[in-house]
Amino acid sequence: MQKRQATKPVRARRAFFKFLLYMKLSVVLLIGSLQVYASVFSQEKISLNLKDVEIKKALVAIQQVSDYRFIYNDDILPAGARVNIKVHDAAIQDVLDIVFKSIPLRYQIMDNNLIVVSPKTGPPEGLDIKGVVHLRNKDESLSVAAGVAIKELGTSNGTTTNEKGEFTLTVKDGAAVLQVSYVGYKPMDVPLNGGVSLDITLELDVRQLQDVVVTALGITRQKKSLTYATQTLKGTELSDTREVNLTSAMNGKVAGLTISKTNSGPGSSNRIIFRGNRSITGGNQPLIVVDGVRIDNTPKAFADVTLFGTRDNGDGISNINPDDVESMTVLTGASAAALYGSDAANGAIIITTRKGRAGKGLGIEIGSSAVLESPMVFPKLQNIYGQGDGGVFVASSIDSWGPKMQGQQVTDWTGKSQALTPQPDNSRDFFRTGKELVNSASISTSTDRSQTYFSFTNTYSNGIIPNNDYKRNNLNLRHNVQLDKKLSLDLKANYIVEDVINRPMTGAANYAVATIFSMPRSLRLDDIRNFETQNPDGSLTQNYWSSPKPAFQNPYWSAYRNLYDRTRNRFIGLVSLKYQITPYLSIQGRSSIDYYTDNSEEKDYNDSYWVSFQGLGNYIINKESNRQFNNDVLLNFNKALTDDWNLNVNAGASIEQFNYEGTLMNDQGLNAPNLFSLANALAPISTNFVQRTEKQSVYAAAQLGYRNYLFLDVTGRNDWNSTLPVNNNSYFFPSFGLSGVLNEMLTLPAAISLLKVRGSYAMVGNGTGFNQLRPSYTLAPGGNGGFLNIDRVLHDANLKPEETRSLELGLDLGLFKNRLGVEATFYNTHTKNQILSIGVPNPSGYAFRIINAGDIRNRGLELLVHARPVDSRDFKWNISVNFGLNRNKILYLDSLQKMPPLSSPETLGMIVAEEGKAYGGIYTSSLVRNAKGQVVVDSATGLPLVETDVTKHYAGNYNPDWTGGIVNTFQYKSWTFSFQIDMRKGGVLVSGTQSLLAANGSSQLTLPNRETGFVVPNSVTQSGAVNTKNVSAQDYWMAVAGANPVGELFTYDATNIRLREASLSYSVPARWLDGKFLKGASLTLVGRNLFFFKNNAYGFDPESAIGTGNNQGLEYTSVPATRNYGLYLKLNF
């Protein structure tokens, strides 16, 4: 493919403009020089036997037996000259020396297998010059490379640099101009002006680098040949934000991406959704591939996350070190992922990590950053009424329904007499300033034949909740070596140790946050800090202001006496061997493993209220191992069939095996208090879990290119999936794509530098989870000899594979030399035969059943706009805008059930999949209203009647209408300033926090008519009479909020606009460092999640989620979202 890029346009032009050959040669050199790496090792041996043939025929014969192409003007070939060639396994130079021995022509072998033939007009009076070419890298450091093309303008005379970047050349005279070019860098014309020793520096051409895209199976392709939408982010765009979780840095930068966070401290999971939700009860997250290795990104949290919340044990991608990332390609659609198979039905994130660059010698990079974190949003709390109920101070109350705080003396829960005064910061002060310290060092070395990259990164972070810490060490070794001319080896070893200490629970189970938000407004944090009393028998008694409650306890007790430590050891390894059989045929074998263990330990001290074995404490150990083992072979054929046609075929086969084993040991209470050992168990239970799946696949992809402007893609893949019934476990899915680069096909106005249309259609099949086809009966401790638990799920032994069909159409437009670029994509996706687990009427004997059903449609638009309004040498201004809009509709669900719940029904909100509506609808409990919309109250109490049937009130849908982001980057000399604004429009969220705070009187919502009480506005009694009964504020709010809230009243619009990111960075100019030990240095001030321009949610971040499952749109006492700001220093040696 690379070669075609060079030869096709040139040879095509030669046919029409033969006489312009010499002028065009500069183009050849320029383009040809982009091909350096491809051809370095493609030199081949030639065997020929020609007797007395014309020179021209000899050249044609050489072309036929080799991969070399000659460039010459017929006019210069000496008429009548003939030659004899008889060689066996000879090098090309030897063959050419024979041909050119006796004629007045010279040849020059370019790095792209082009051989330029020119008259022997050797420069008798020529000028010998020499020089060195430096390349300025992204980080402003300078490096050198072999193969930089140097050409004398207007001639065919030229050369390339050696490994040290040096070159020598004989030019006509001192007035000559040199054209210097190198792949990925802006070409440059250098006038000699009489000089004979030159020092040239090429600037990086960022635009050009982005034009190559890593696609499925690690196949690198020109962006213009792709038939579907992709988006590439550079590693620095991700790592410069200093986010601990790589995916957090993607937020707002990718069109059509929706991220929600679990907010459970450092290392928490993100839910990543491209182009809307496709699967109703399965996963909707994309496949993650790192250097061709699919890594396990299974969220380690329970799937059905209720308001109670879950322990978010992190996801897979958050282990990847952002500093190691060279680039990230986002394939948002199904067609992009047709080759990856089922797991990529939701798109794919393809990460390429850094490796040593050929010809750059030794490089060392050291980075260090410190980021501080503080709560960005906080619930709106009142500071007028203190602890108590019914307007009376009650020392043991959990509510703030007490009297006005006026400094009156009261005997409070500590037994002391203290003034009843507002404690406005008692909630806020519980949180500490979080810290993220990241220190990294990397070394890369390279020779012609091998490149090595090694990095070490240490990440240390303190969450904003006391005693919540995060540590991660990443070791990454990458070694690429050319074993011989045809065989290359790529080795990678990645070792990650992650230790998360006391990761907070999400949802109501986060007792610390639930208590700290809702506690009485008059409590002093200093009193609460004294959280325990030691008893003579060694046990502890928690100091709490009320009687034990299963939902609340002293927040410091939660932080220091309910401990949870989870350690992950992860090894990711890759061995890849590639054999270049001929220049156009190669075979690659790859073996990769992603193995990790998670060990967790939970210690709950005695007197923890919510532990079932109350008063006894508990100890739980959980050990899990996960292994993703993949092997594949890939055959690549890439050849120009004729001058115009090029064919690129990839065919391969793979086996993917996943294995999970888990053991859980639960003491269920401790005999001796606070001795955390399995031997001290009160009623131990241990359970083990197994999951194992395997997928075998064969696949092929062909791309036919015509004149490098029209491309046809065809792919096909067949999977055999162990999770499906034997009769249905094989499924085939094809894809087709077409793209045309119109500006190369037609004559368009000069302003249009790129106009490409593309379209593709793809099918992707999918299996299901492990062991879904038959019932699972399990034994559990209980009774006198154990209990047998039957399966509450009705299984279908004849499940069919899921099927997603996706059509996408796109347009790429570049104007004014690509200073303005637009990429627009429309897509329409149907997912059918979905494998769903839906709730069923219980009298059937089952709680759920697994079915093939559904037709979910997602259609939408993705838009990317890039502009460079100012692009001068000293000042550059870049704007990047992205926009994503998705419209979802469930066209068909099931013959029996039109609205199965996706979550356990809860009065606050139930998430449903409803036929005829968009996925992710939220139904809540509501106030009973009459036909006029008036609130109906109970005539006896004056309190609103509550409709607790959650199927009656539709509150909205949790998905945004659209998302967008704008990134502005200003670069002035060595200074760079950039900021990013995100917007999310639409979607609703139901806030459990707000209802909790309203019920216990700590929310500002509860202030109106506190002391007088009120008649429920616009209300009537059951009989229709006007309601005149006064209710107290406490009775009202406790009736509509609290443990069983009226979700309708706590539903908020999730629309928000925020300053996601701002950074200012200074790079020490390269010229100051030239030739010194230090090659580059930069300092960046970075801020993330700085503030909201607009936030319709009431005192919380609408991106908050209870878990990463499909159960979104509910919020409950999550850890506040944080604002981050810090400093990042990077040094290159």
Binding site: D389, A683, T693, T778, G783, P905, T907
Partner: protein, 342 residues
Amino acid sequence: MRSIIYIACMLIMITSCTKKFDELNTDPTTFGSLTAATIPNAFAKAEYQGIYGDPGIYELARALFPDLWSQFFANVDPNIKSDRYVIIQDWIISQWSSVYTVTWPTLKQVLEATATTQPEANAIAKIWKAYIWHYHTDFYGPVPYFQAGTGALSIPYDNQQDIYDDLFKTLDSAVTVLKGANASLTPYGTNDLIFHGSIPLWIKLANTLHLRLAMRISKVDPDRAKTEAEKAVAAGVMTGNADNAFMDVGPNSVNGLNQMSPWEGARMSASMESYLKGYSDPRMTEYYSPAADGQYHGVRNGLTPAQLSASDKNSPDNTSNVGPRYSLDSQTTNKLTVMYAA
């Protein structure tokens, strides 16, 4: 070096076998159907679940509704709205789902598995079937009964008359089998958490339950009630404490009421206080504990949050919690009550 690639290819060829997929996709830690050896474990589960022994279910299905509405307890936690006759759907559903998705399908499979091979075990399971359904239908009235647990997704409700009629018949057939059985047999052994397989005791429980069912229809069908009651008594009902039916508890199947005793705010109701004090009932000290002042104090059912907070007398400390036998410490020893002779 070519050989490495060949080996890689070979590796893929060799392992390219989908024949083992079925085995691979089977969880070795579970089994796919009820095995003969685990029938007693299934029966034990049906027993424990059948009286809502599990603390979570006990709380939602009993403590927060029937226990309050029958006024054994009142609740002093202002957030417990069910004491004010508010139906909380996501709590009350536990009664329904527990019977239909756990207790009944488990017991039904035991009934099917023992139908032909173990008549005595089958008969005991039938008695338990009558026990769980009489509670369930008395809770809701007409419920899906005859076709429940068949896997059909649309199941009709059955009227209570038909359900009661079937329960009588079920008890009759069970007692007939057990009376003809060798009384030394102990079906399910100790996995029968109630009588450890004692056939004579199960017969008495069946007849006593028969009598209870008869009494419950005495207002709607006096004639049938009379017939059934006389039949039950003639067949031999529980007569003394030795006949009482209690269910074993243990470390992993505790007494739910014990476990929840420190939770929420369930306290003696004013109604219970009136009865027990009014009749100087000696059970007071067994059922309830003294409040902080050493006296027994109840609280009225159905108080609003403001009413609850209006007086310190309604606080958890100043009202009577459950008695000492229901303390947390006794959760693994205080047996669950199935039926008393009294």
